[in-house]
């Protein structure tokens, strides 16, 4: 590179007020130190630039190094997928014998049995409904929590709660906290990527860094209305069609101006950081097309993810992209299964809706699990599958189910979780979390713990107080650790 940038620590961002700077002023000079420019002037206490995304040590030994969050927008029904309730099948059409929640999204009627058959799979003999025949093959690798519960019955609140821990304030998302806690391992890519996220129900707040430095925010590829083959990072491609060689020259010229400007005496870490950010941007725009180029995958892999089938192609590509980001060292990747109709939100037509949805995701998710395993990535990659809430075992209308934040299922795979475990349970009909209840805050504390982060110590001072993902809550469910 003609700019002569030979930086040790490549950089993605900075925040002038970060206390770390002062602490790190002796290291991470990056650009300036490498070019030996102004060496005598930089010996002072100038706030030097250091890369906030450099990998950081966890608080304690991490079980997982990276996360892929497979999010089912709308609320898949636990009692039709992974939480088998024989009594619900038996008592179909009867009154629910216990009290329904004080706050309900909509009134519901009598118990409604699952229209799907459940069978036992694997050595653990775990029950999975016929909606997920492919995921079922991996059931011995999965670690279920059946007693997850939240506190918000509406999509917006529940989505925000699941992603940020708060349903009425804008707070940093789980991915931003992880990226803040651990940095990232690829200098050319963001630390937190979210593929085709929904803009509804909290939208960007579900992947924002809120008051954490912006460098930790999720970088979206498209959104739920973008077909995944068109999902791109904003401004990654040149909108005027400037040839890459010319752009490199423009950049060289620009950096020459910038260096002179810096030299002129306006010494400042922010200026230095901005110089570096252009180099990173340039590298990012070269690397991203490579990540997105799925033609590099074998035909067998593409087929496994369902890229050859219309019904699985869109979500399959998301899953495959996720794996490509993960293997390149991106810390936190989210894929979202969502469409223009809130996807899993079957207030009516449960059978039709859930069948369609499951068909779209079952094979791709199974392929992702298999692929990660084969590549030896599963052991230190935490896979998370859940929605923002589950659904009521009682009927809404004649063939639908309402939102149910009071008891639903999340499953993990890999990342140091205990394979084949079923932790916690709901009541006999799958309505309320009953045994070993796990609140969304506990779920967050547990995910952080798997990443080697202590949820009580991962704090950020904002507006005069230390904030945490789990606020003042959170129990680490260490029972799910392998």
């Amino acid at each position: 590179m003609s700019v002569g940038c030979n930086c040790q620590s490549e950089l993605v961002g900075l925040r002038p007020t970060r206390r770390d700077w002062l602490k790190n002023s002796a290291i991470g000079f990056g650009y300036l130190a490498a070019t030996a420019l102004l060496a005598e002037k930089t010996s002072g206490a100038r706030q030097a630039y250091s890369n906030p995304l450099s990998p950081r040590e966890p608080h304690f030994a991490a079980r997982a190094k990276r996360v892929v969050f497979v999010f089912m927008k709308g609320g898949p029904s636990q009692v039709d997928t992974f939480d088998y309730k024989p009594n619900l099948q038996r008592d179909d059409g009867k009154e629910c014998p216990f009290e329904k929640p004080r706050v309900q999204f909509a009134p519901t009627g009598k118990l409604l049995k699952s229209p799907w058959k459940f069978s036992q799979y694997g050595e653990t003999g775990s029950y999975v409904s016929e909606l997920f025949p492919n995921v079922a093959k991996h059931v011995d690798d999965l670690c279920f929590i059946h007693s997850l519960h939240g506190s918000n019955a509406a999509h917006g609140g529940a989505l925000l709660k699941m992603h940020t821990g708060s349903d009425n304030f804008v707070r940093p998302s789980l991915g931003a906290w992880v990226s803040y806690g651990l940095g990232t391992e690829n200098d050319n890519l963001p630390g937190f990527v979210t593929i085709c996220p929904t803009l509804a129900h909290g939208g960007v707040n579900n992947w924002s860094s809120a008051f954490l430095p912006a460098v930790y925010q999720g970088v979206p590829l498209g959104n739920a209305s973008t077909p995944s083959d068109q999902a791109r990072i904003r401004y990654i491609a040149n909108e005027a069609g400037t040839p890459a060689a010319v752009q490199r020259k423009q950049l060289d010229l620009l950096q020459q101006f910038n260096r002179r400007h810096l030299e002129e005496g306006a010494l400042d870490a922010a200026l230095e950081g901005r110089i570096a950010s252009f180099e990173l941007a340039f590298r990012m725009q070269s690397e991203m097309p490579q990540v997105e180029d799925l033609s590099q995958e074998t035909a067998a892999t593409r087929r496994a993810y369902g890229l050859d089938e219309k019904v699985t192609e869109n979500f399959g590509r998301q899953c495959l992209l996720a794996r490509r980001f993960l293997e390149r060292g991106v810390r936190f990747v989210q894929v979202t299964h969502s469409d223009a109709n809130v996807q899993w939100d079957q207030h009516s037509n449960l059978r039709e809706g859930h069948t369609k949805n499951a068909l779209e995701v079952d094979q791709p998710i199974a392929a992702l699990l298999e692929d990660l395993k084969q590549r030896g990535l599963l052991e230190d990659t935490l896979v998370i599958w859940t929605g923002e809430f589950g659904r009521t075992p009682t009927a809404q209308g004649k063939d639908g189910r309402d939102h149910n934040p009071d008891g639903f299922t999340v499953w993990f795979a890999g990342g140091g979780t205990k394979p084949g475990l079923h932790y916690g349970s709901t009541d006999e009909y799958g309505f309320y979390a009953a045994e070993n209840k796990v609140h969304v805050h506990d779920f967050h504390a547990t995910v952080l713990a798997l990443m080697g982060l202590n949820h009580e110590k991962l704090t950020f001072r904002h507006a005069g107080r230390d904030f945490r993902l789990t606020d003042v809550h959170g129990r680490i469910v260490s029972e799910v650790f392998a």
């Binding site: 900075l14 999204f105 304030f169 509804a200 400037t242 020259k249 901005r274």
Partner: protein, 810 residues
Amino acid sequence: MWIQRWAAGIILLSLAIQLRASEPAAEKIQYFEKHVRPLLLQRCASCHGNEKQEGKLRLDSPEFLLSGGESGDLYLSGQPDSSLLIAAVKRVDASLTMPPEPEKPLSPAEVETLAKWVRDGATLPISSGESVPVDPKRIEEGKNHWAFQTSVRSIVPSDTHDKWSANSIDRFVWTKLKSHGLTPRSEAEKSIWLRRVTLDMVGLPPTVAEIESFLQDNSQDAKSKVVERLLGSPHYGVRWGRHWLDIARYADSNGLDENIAHGNAWRYRDYVVDSWNSDKPYNQFVLEQIAGDLLADQSEPAGPNAERRQREYLIATGFLALGPKVLAEVDKQKMEMDIIDEQLDTIGKSFLGLTLGCARCHDHKFDPISTEDYYGLAGILKSTKTMESYKTIAKWHENSLANETELQRQKDHQQSVDSGKKEIERVRSAAIEELKKSLKLGEELPKDPEPKLPDAIREDLKNKRDQLAKLEASAPELPSAMGVTEGIVADIPVHIRGSHLALGRIVPRGVPAVFVSTQTPRMSKQMSGRESFARWLVEPNNPLTARVIVNRLWRWHFGLGLVASTDNFGLLGDKPSHPELLDWLAVELIENDWSIKHIQRLILLSQTYGQSSQFDSLSAEKDPRNQYLWRYSIRRMEAEVFRDSILAVGGVLDMAKGQSLLHVKNREFLFNHTSIDKTKYDSHLRSIFVPVIRNHLYDVFYLFDYSDAANVNGNRDSTTIAPQALFMLNSGLVHEAAGGLARGLLSGPLVNDGARVDELWRRLYAHPPVSEDREAALTFLKQNAAVDELQRWTWLCQSALASNDFAFVR
């Protein structure tokens, strides 16, 4: 280990409270009163009562059971086996046995009494009117915190230094610098100062003509002339009004869950711009935003002026209504309290620099604000009507702005519609009558007789109906503004742990007890108390209001507040770097009729503001954050200044005043579940007019740290991330501006590239290039001689636009 696990119980406990309160359960309360309370009093209260509180736990009154103690929550409702209380009396763990004396354990029957109570839901008889205790000591201590002391006019230091003596601000700053062994930098070059002050005051770089004129003006008051010109510019309000919109968490959509359009928010935005332009006294500005609707019918003789003022007053209260709301919240009481909480949080941070929101669930952990203080204030807002309806999707209230003429116009229109309908019905029924007459014997009138009517009549009906439809579609829309009005006046009880289902003592409406220097506002039974509260806010003795706003001004001018935590003056906020200067400015504001522009004049013409930004390693070692102002701090332009400046130098900025650029009507979805946001950002109007869409902010704004409109934000971040560089390299917007810039240079009078490069530098950076840069630019042009002139100039202009010299103010 026991103790750790208890943290998780809090949320469960609050669920338990909810479950409990859903059924009054008289006999459960009876059980508590008959069996549990006496047992606790007898066996526990000697150590956990009003005399002694071992482990910070009291068991002598029900509300204390909810609070738990040092070790966490006392019990997990419904789950005796996971409850600390039961574990302790059962003595399951040697580390915690109660009562502690081994010879005095509870009998199995007594243990069962407590276990049964927990198992059955741990019902408590709350709402009995008993007081939630406030720690008077903390309030006493809090009164000593600097921010709660009334500001007094500080004595201007007598120590002087050269030019740093004429302006009082400079004397304060100079004295502080000296005491820290620092010296200020020399005066910035004129061109640098002009670019700085112009971007600061109107959010645009100076034009070449403005630069020329200032550089040639060697008079004593050359700077003063510039400052007056900028303060008088209509774009001053555009720039500084936008600062205030950060405080008002202004947005054109609701955000959070149901993202529907604030179709009338722009009226508030324009009100803010106009208020800043007219230098509205800040006390009046505050008063209008909290209680404008109550000021409306006072003073001012009737006439267009009074009418305009009245509208302004109503629009101003939009401040209280603009916050993000969970409009699909299923629990309507929770929604109401959440909205009040958001308002209180905003009022606290914006005007007082206090995080009042913390006191919703418990006494403020750090500031002397009790839960009772919180509910005293919340009562004022509960007595105010913000919402029209809480039914999903909930509707916020809007105040009608219609005047007599508009109302009359609407009435007239309705009359025309009604008579149009009547006429159609008359023609139709007359024709049907005719038709009936023509029926043959035994023939029945068809269900829909119209097709049987004569062609001419059918034609006539069709025309009349078309006309009516057109008329109906053209109904005059009555103007209205988001805002509040008086509601049903009531004092409200403390909500224990923030839950509306667990109510404590009723608290009279009022202001926090820690404010002792002010007159306690009177609350009547007839009024919400908003006006009294607002007047209390701007009382000269209020220790915070003036300090908070002068500190905001300082932050916006210098990038760092005298109190760095602009929105938090509480015990956890930063201490002022220059307490005397802060107080001096606060008093100066109040004594000059709360004139913002007066304070800004002082700041802009100070040496402190006028000094160079040149780095100095010795000073930097002593004061790396530059809080003592040994130089002017370099700053990147804020998002909107950056966008507007790019468009301005590209010659494509539209300087007109916008109204609403939303593509949907008031209260319509911006996008619901679809994730397809149709909001257009192709407008070239100034950024303040570009819609602020919560949940999906305009990406250029999002990239460059615009306020996210969720919270009061008086201290925007300034981050540097790679996607910003992608924007500079690849976006159509930057290309367009670069192209415009290139075309302007090529079509102008300059004939050679050298002169054009000089001109380019002046337009972008207000100074000519150093020879090195000039050479580099010319070489670049030569290297690209193969492509056409406009193209290579566009490329050059893009590099120049992307440079730090453009993006940063120094």
